[in-house]
Amino acid sequence: GAGVSQSPSNKVTEKGKDVELRCDPISGHTALYWYRQSLGQGLEFLIYFQGNSAPDKSGLPSDRFSAERTGGSVSTLTIQRTQQEDSAVYLCASSLQQVSTDTQYFGPGTRLTVL
């Protein structure tokens, strides 16, 4: 079946511009995660959505970052007024349930480059 998809696969933007990254999770998966992966670094947790519960936004690095998940399915991560340090690969993952023992299925990521 279809896995997690993300778009765009690559995004080059100028400093100060806003960007939107999209994630389509696996159908039926209630949990959705966003991570950031910088070169040589581990995956950095950004935000977590579970069903209709309030999202866990504790990993968002600044108020320039926001995310929403509409209808319990598609999610968008928005970065306002992008900075060069925002350059990284942004990964989305979904899992069937909310417990972290459940396998997370990752999308291919969006590579963001801020010039």
């Binding site: 997690v4 949990a31 991570y35 040589g40 670094q41 581990g42 995956l43 947790f45 977590y48 579970q50 866990d56 990964l91 993952a93 909310q98 417990v99 972290s100 023992t101 396998t103 997370q104 299925y105 990752f106 999308g107 291919p108 990521g109």
Partner: protein, 112 residues
């Protein structure tokens, strides 16, 4: 806060040999640990999960050990093949029941 360290250097091995990767952690006692594989330009793919009460787990040519006293997990790829070349990430359960904390990964290259 919890800290996770994996082999800092890339691992280059000959086909057929065993690759051994380490994952050390501090400031936390995880209930379980996961290993993922990541290929260039792709997202991580889940491989194995081992719980704190399990000493060892196997899946085909993969073996994972979990030593809660040493705060260490070892990941072994036996009879390695060039197709095993990838970056391998370890991940620990976090402070609540849905977060994972990932290490930076170890890149393995298997030479034919």
């Amino acid at each position: 806060s919890q800290k996770i360290e994996q082999n800092s250097e890339a691992l280059n091995i000959q086909e057929g040999k065993t690759a051994t990767l380490t994952c050390n952690y501090t400031n936390y006692s995880p209930a379980y640990l996961q290993w993922y594989r990541q290929d260039p330009g792709r997202g991580p793919v889940f491989l194995l999960l081992i719980r704190e009460n399990e000493k060892e787990k196997r899946k085909e040519r993969l073996k994972v050990t979990f030593d809660t006293t040493l705060k260490q997990s070892l990941f072994h790829i036996t009879a390695s093949q060039p197709a095993d070349s990838a970056t391998y990430l370890c991940a620990l359960d976090g402070e609540n029941d849905y977060k994972l904390s990932f290490g930076a990964g170890t890149t393995v290259t298997v030479r034919a």
